[in-house]
Amino acid sequence: MRIGILATSFRSGIKLFEALDSLPQKEVFLLVFPSGRTASFWKRVTLFLSGLLSSPWRLPRLLCAGNVVLLSEALDHPKTLSRIRELDLDIGLHKSEVIYRDSTIRSFKQGILNAHIGLLPKYRGRCVMEWTLLQGDRTGVSVFFIDAGIDTGEKIVFSREVDVSGKKSIPEAKSHLFSQDADCYKTAIQKLRNENFQFETNDGSGERYYVMSNLFLSVVDDLLQENSKVPSE
């Protein structure tokens, strides 16, 4: 299986790259692209140097082997799309902050996977961890194939509840959920290799959530603090 990690920085992408090392029968590529329309020469130099600092031994070797691809244009640029198609990738792994267009999604044979920090289909959109806690539900991560909508991709590979008790603040709890991505992507890839695998369906029964007000964010923070004081059994 040929896998492409889609990242806007070496630093975030390389961690996921290394975490996928243990997967058998795969070839992984790290595609680093600019978060804006294009990356200037100096921006690319800065990106490269910051990557070098985070992984001084691995990055040069990966670059030489062709496993790290530095893209100078946005993901939906024809030049970028053509480069991705040349790589003949089966699956893309979302590790950036961008919303993908159809043309980019179609450049991967199976599509692009996203480790979303909410349980689908109920929680789509922004601040889903906060909304989950505010409504007294269990937090978790869902890995699904994205489409051009906001968390509306129909094919869910799996969803998993993730405990955030003990986390004292929203950033801490969110960071804990985001840190699950490497493990979640590995599990998803293993599941997809199983001949008898069946997708769960994102049936649109949930709601789209939006950025939360400071008033409700303070309620969520209080709930987390209160919960972090509950002694573990």
């Binding site: 909304w131 806690l133 505010l134 409504q135 007294g136 539900d137 269990r138 937090t139 978790g140 998993r160 509840e161 993730v162 405990d163 955030v164 008790s165 003990g166 709601e207 789209r208 959530y209 939006y210 950025v211 939360m212 007000s213 400071n214 008033l215 409700f216 303070s218 309620v219 209080d222 709930l223 209160e226 919960n227 509950v230 573990s232 059994e233």
Partner: protein, 232 residues
Amino acid sequence: MDNSKFKPQPPDRRIAQALRQRLEELRTTSADRISPSRSGDQLSFASQVLEILQSEKIVLWMKNPPIDSSTPPSWIDSELDGFSFLRLLALGESPQTDFKDASPQESAEAFLKTLDENKSERFQLLIQRYRCPLNLRLDSEKEVVEFLLYQLMVPKRVKLDKGDLDSLNHDELLVILNFVAVHAADLSDLRFIDALNYYYERLPANWNIRGSCPWLLISFYALYARALASGV
């Protein structure tokens, strides 16, 4: 990944507490936010809203929410125009209504298309269709309400966060805020009241409204207070 330790506490009490706190804050700052001199031709309306927010009447609203949050059995008709209806709702009164089985000729789906194709006329289109904004609670209008929420929390929010309110159509923004405030009294979906929370926190107190109905900001604050009162 064991989730057995996670024991979410029912947050209802905390939410009610937060809504009460916000209502108190709105009452305390209402004199700064609601300036009768900026109410256009609705000077007495502004004074009435101020009086309500600063009096004990609001305590009655808490005990007995003035907006009936139930879904109407069918399309509501009224002799009143949309503006008068909104002002009465904002003052905690129940306008005379008549239930009709006749929905508007244009379906909600077709209406959404019209809204999309006529961006500059959205204000007029909305106020005409929802002469009685309680009709937004009907199941048939769910997609329209979602569209209004999306408008508030995505494209208009981006401008609000950038401090670029001048590039927005103020009449349209205000009528959407009013309609969402009417809908928000039904607290079974907290996304609506939270959109109001978000705008309350970020709208400048000295916002210089450029539009034909500056009093819609005053009715927004009153309807927001009513929605908050229904949750405490």
